[in-house]
């Protein structure tokens, strides 16, 4: 079949570092297919797509669409050529409605200057209707879920008449159900003659949705295959160059002494129908990984904040080693030894404009004083050198952490939090958006923590992660725990899925 999009011999080197992000890359995409572009973080997928979308210019190479050679100087030119991109992180304005966000930059106008909101809503409604989305154009972005935000991003591109859609890691922040809905949307779009390039590193999804696969590694194309001809293990092998084994042996049941305990923890807000957290009780013991899962919007985020001491609870109590720590300050909690790897790495877990070194001492900066509160610079540098090598962080200690890749930022956070872990650690969505190798690294660390007798709480909407690692599994639904069971062969993906959707509830009617 003839190619629709053809990127030929694309090369891109980054200035100061001399890193070859794309090295003579040639990509062919056929009309009407879902083409998966897979590879680890830093393999060059996003760079290649940024070049296609005009965000970056290649050092050499050509791009042609429909047999016509194109110079894509910026995203506006890309839009004009019928190329649309949905970024990994949503770039929507929270205070605006769906319709306002969709038309942003291409607004319908009244009398040439005034924004025509009614027309915007009507036009956007038409796009939504035509492509069978389930979303209302008048809703504000702050009122909709992450999955819906992604739909809005897609609608935004369709509104600009995109024929070729690029989706960068669209599923990393979605729940199982939202992923399925997204895939339905994509299939629908294909039926209407659109073409999709999907950047991802979740192999099960690649198998599930794509027609063809291009695998990248270290800036080069390693392989192009029809999806039907390969299995997940082969793809993974091509991606990392070695076979990844996902079977982590769960440890023996060991010490088991209660470290952290929540009793009937609730959060109620005025004007909110049901409590945000409703009578949550569970224990986390030493040598144990407690996994808590659920669909986004069911209280996982709030539970994360409560355990981290960043959100006060309305009723109930929390104990650490049998001492009441209900509603103590984050500072006091840190002093008791909390280690915490947060969901929001970029805003909460790190300070992007601050150096790696200064990011690494956030929780331990009290330990680096000479006298009178003056820092011992040598000790700090040594500390950061040690952690950088121990956690294999690819980055210099004096550069702002924001210049590092996502995987390396997460490693900095991990290094900081796990280096002086005492007896409990909270992980929240520790691997989303990360590649196979980084995820594996984090899983190993988590198991290492458990082996050292630490109580590990893992909050994750990734069921596979929970099933692989957790000894005890809790499921949240509408702010309540609806299941709490030891992991075992009877607790399968499907069963957990039923709990997550509220189809099953072990604790209904209990007090």
């Amino acid at each position: 079949m003839e190619s629709y999009l053809s990127m030929k011999n694309i090369s891109k080197t980054f200035g100061v570092t001399g890193l070859k992000a794309n090295d003579n890359v040639t990509l062919d995409v056929r009309r009407g297919e879902i083409h998966a572009l897979v590879g680890e973080n830093g393999a060059g997928k996003t760079t290649l797509m940024n070049i296609l979308y005009g965000i970056m210019q290649p050092d050499s190479g050509t791009i042609s669409l429909n047999g016509k050679e194109l110079k894509i100087l910026n995203p506006i030119a890309a839009n004009k050529a019928g190329i649309g991109m949905v970024h990994q992180h949503s770039r929507l304005v929270n205070e605006f409605t769906v319709a306002q966000n969709v038309v942003l930059g291409a607004e319908p106008k009244k009398a040439a200057i005034f924004f025509d909101n009614r027309k915007a809503e009507a036009e956007v409604a038409a796009v939504i209707e035509k492509n069978r989305f389930h979303i209302s154009p008048e809703m504000k972005i702050s009122e909709i879920s992450v999955g819906q935000m992604q739909q809005v991003e897609i609608i935004k591109m369709l509104y600009r008449k995109a024929e070729l859609l690029i989706l960068d890691e669209p599923t990393s922040i979605l729940t199982e159900q939202e992923i399925q809905r997204l895939f339905d949307t994509l299939r629908e779009l294909i039926k209407r003659g659109k073409t999709v390039i999907l950047i991802t590193h979740k192999l099960s999804e690649v198998k599930d949705i794509s027609d063809r696969i291009t695998v990248m590694r270290k800036g080069r194309i390693v392989s192009v295959k029809d999806t039907a001809d390969v299995d997940e293990r082969e793809i993974s092998k091509m991606m990392v160059g070695k076979s990844v084994i996902f079977d982590f042996a769960k440890g023996e049941e060991g010490c088991r002494e209660t470290v952290l305990s929540l009793e009937k923890v609730s959060i109620r807000k005025k004007r909110q129908g049901h409590p945000i957290l409703d009578n949550i009780s569970f224990n986390a013991s030493s040598c144990e990984i407690v996994g808590i899962t659920g669909v986004a919007g069911n209280g996982l985020t709030e539970l994360e904040d409560v355990i981290a001491g960043l959100q006060k609870i309305s009723s109930g109590s929390i104990y650490h080693n049998d001492e009441d720590i209900t509603n103590i300050s984050p500072k006091a909690l840190r002093e008791r030894g909390l280690a915490y790897v947060p969901t929001d790495r970029l805003k909460r877990g790190s300070s992007l404009d601050t150096s790696v070194k200064e990011n690494l001492i956030l929780t331990s900066h009290h330990d680096f004083m000479k006298r009178c509160g003056v820092f011992d610079d040598n000790k700090i540098s040594e500390h950061s050198r040690r952690l950088i090598s121990e956690y294999k962080i690819d980055g210099h200690s004096d550069v702002p952490i924001g210049t590092l890749s996502g995987g390396n930022i997460q490693k900095v956070i991990l290094a900081r939090e796990l280096d002086n872990v005492k007896d409990f650690v909270l992980f929240s969505e520790p691997t989303w958006g990360l590649d196979v190798a980084s995820s594996e690294f984090i899983y190993e660390k988590m198991l290492e923590m458990r082996a050292r007798g630490v109580a590990v709480v893992l909050i994750s909407s990734n069921i596979d992660e929970i099933l692989t690692l957790a000894d005890t599994i809790f499921v949240m639904y509408r702010g309540r725990l609806v299941a709490g069971r030891a992991s075992g062969p009877d607790l399968t993906r499907e069963v957990i899925g039923e709990y997550m959707l509220g189809l099953k509830d072990d604790f209904r009617g209990e007090e």
Partner: protein
């Protein structure tokens, strides 16, 4: 891939472009308004450097600007806005004067110490109030510091023209403080006094405090990313209050140093511009305490240039001020733009 060095390069280029633009505007204005543009230009640029008197005075007028610039930099570093600089300088200067007038016979060392202390405390309390309101009721410190300061200016005015007015002087001013409290001149015949040495030391200490100490680290983390700081167990509330206290203290000190070093009395409106220009100085210095020194000198230079052109060439005081304002305006606009860009990223 973002590279920090290229970021700095862009900033430097931008500053250069702004400076050249300001220079061009100035050229055009002088050519339009002056009969003898060549002469005017000469006095504008070279005037402050032609003799000891001008040169010394230029350095002298940088002294309070360094202090107010530092005061603002401290607040900005913690993402706090102190728009009350004018009032804090004024009240600080007045407090220093009042203390000196109250004990005309005291020893120099004791008198100066107490008077500086009074100024520092006065400034700190005024700015601290805004910090306290923010901590307690989330009042926007930008508004409250401005309002409090504006009200204070009238109160101090009232003291100077009322109970403290020097009856033997036709100007609206207090009496002069006793001579033993005056700072030593170090560059006669100019007004430049010994305090410049201390001010430079304070700038270096401020740098050290911000970047090399435990408290400075916590303060900066609260400034760049409060959520990050809170997450890491830093008491964020403390760093709403503390930077405002520092900021106010430095402003108060600026007032006292001006009174004891230069004017020797507190005359009505002496602080005019010191607070606002401190903001511009901090912005140009990108809140780096060391960079505050050259930034303040630059401001002083433009001011001295305008004055020298006015005295020696044919432009009037109004035109000199207009030229000066255009330069300040352009440079401050550029610096503010950078600052807002940075703040938006951080928040």
């Amino acid at each position: 891939m973002k590279v920090n060095r290229s970021d700095m390069f862009v900033t430097a280029i931008a500053l250069l472009i702004t400076l050249s633009a300001a220079f061009m505007v100035m050229l055009v204005m002088i050519f339009i308004m002056s009969e003898t543009p060549g002469e005017t230009l000469f006095y504008f640029f070279a005037g402050p450097l032609t003799n000891k008197y001008y040169l010394g005075n230029m350095f002298n007028s940088a002294i309070p600007l360094i202090l107010t610039g530092l005061g603002i930099a401290f607040a900005f570093r913690s993402s706090m806005f102190n728009l009350g600089g004018e009032g804090q300088v004024y009240a600080g200067g007045f407090a220093a004067t009042a203390v000196c007038l109250a004990m005309p016979a005291a020893g120099a060392f004791f008198g100066i110490t107490v008077s500086l202390l009074a100024a520092v405390v006065t400034g700190a309390v005024i700015a601290g109030l805004s910090g306290f309101f923010k901590m307690k009721w989330r009042t926007d410190e930008l508004i409250s510091s401005f309002l409090i300061s504006n009200a204070l200016i009238y109160i101090v005015d009232n003291f100077i023209t009322g109970p403290f007015d020097d009856p033997g002087n036709n100007l609206l001013t207090t009496s002069k403080v006793a001579e033993q409290f005056w700072f030593n001149k170090i560059f006669p015949p100019s007004n430049l006094d010994i305090s410049i040495v201390f001010v430079v030391i304070i700038a270096i200490l401020a740098f050290f405090y911000l970047f090399k100490t435990h408290q400075g680290y916590e303060m900066r983390m609260c400034g760049v990313n409060p959520e990050f700081a809170r997450y890491g167990g830093i008491n964020v509330g403390k760093y709403i209050m503390l930077p405002m206290l520092w900021s106010g203290a430095l402003h108060g000190l600026a007032g006292a140093v001006y009174v004891l070093g230069t004017s020797h009395a507190c005359f009505k409106g002496f602080s005019g511009g010191m607070g606002w220009n401190g903001i511009a100085v901090a912005l140009i210095a990108r809140n780096n305490p060391i960079a505050v020194i050259p930034a303040a000198l630059f401001f002083a230079y433009i001011e001295a240039g305008a004055e020298s052109a006015m005295i020696n060439a044919d432009i009037t005081i109004e035109i000199a001020s207009i030229v000066q304002s255009v330069v300040f305006f352009l440079i401050t606009a550029q610096a503010i733009y950078n600052f807002l860009k940075y703040r938006r990223k951080a928040v």
